[in-house]
Amino acid sequence: MSSPVTAGWGYVAGGYGAIGALVAGYVVSVLRRRRSLTRRLRPTPAEPALDHRPSTATVEEVP
């Protein structure tokens, strides 16, 4: 059995790697979804993006 000190690094790498991969992978997916959504939500130029829209959207706004 290799001495406990060196054997430990394998597990440390495994642990950090696992958490890192999971968290990083998820963060990337969330950011990508967020970017695509902001693009799809880009309103017509007349209306500023993500402004304080009135709580009810009235049909009038629909051309």
Binding site: A7, Y11, V12, I19, V23, Y26, L37, T58
Partner: protein, 252 residues
Amino acid sequence: MTLTVPALSKHPRRSLLDRASFVLGVASAVGVVALLFLGLVVSPPAILYGETVRLIYVHPAVATITFVAFGVCALASLAYLWPRTRSPRWDHLAGASAEVGVLFCAATLVSGSIWGRYTWGVWWTWDALLTLTLMLFVVFVGYLALRRTGGDPVARAKRCAVTALLAFLLVPIDHYSTSWWNTLHQGNTVLRVGKSPLIEGWQLATMLLSFLVFAVLFAWILLRRFEVESMEARLEDEGYVWAIAERRAEGR
């Protein structure tokens, strides 16, 4: 004739949320780097565990965040179910925190079993806390499956809110049932560390830092995910206005 359709969700104010999440983003990035540096380089290996003690800088923090995330989900669900405080935003928060919770729960389980492999020589033991965490993971995966079922958004939100509450009620029940059953776990030196005599100096400092860093990271991810959830709802919501116009055109 004006036809008003209540937007099912008020979208988050841009300035406050964006600025907050930007700051959080930077803070969590810096925190992670500092934690890696302290955890892997500066703090000494322990006598008994050798290098694997470094796992103590990630595993307990991730585990704690898991419970925090599921707690946020349960509270948001409760707020949604309560008629006075009902608003779609609670449902979005519940959905976001559940998903982040499942992520951290997976991280906890993986890192826990890797560490268990070293210290107990086995990937999995039917220990009270491990079983509880795995139970929570399975139950909330079911919750996420329920979130994706379609239909009327209000109905979906109610179903999910009730499930989230039930899932979170599982925590105390499971806690007792599994702890009566048996427990191998080391007690709270691993999970919630107060001033623990077992470790001190750099190790303790790094560990406390790890809780802070992961808390900030959690908050940032949650905020981003919450924004995504709200935007998705708004997209669906805006669809209604167009759909109503098309529907009426059908009639003419």
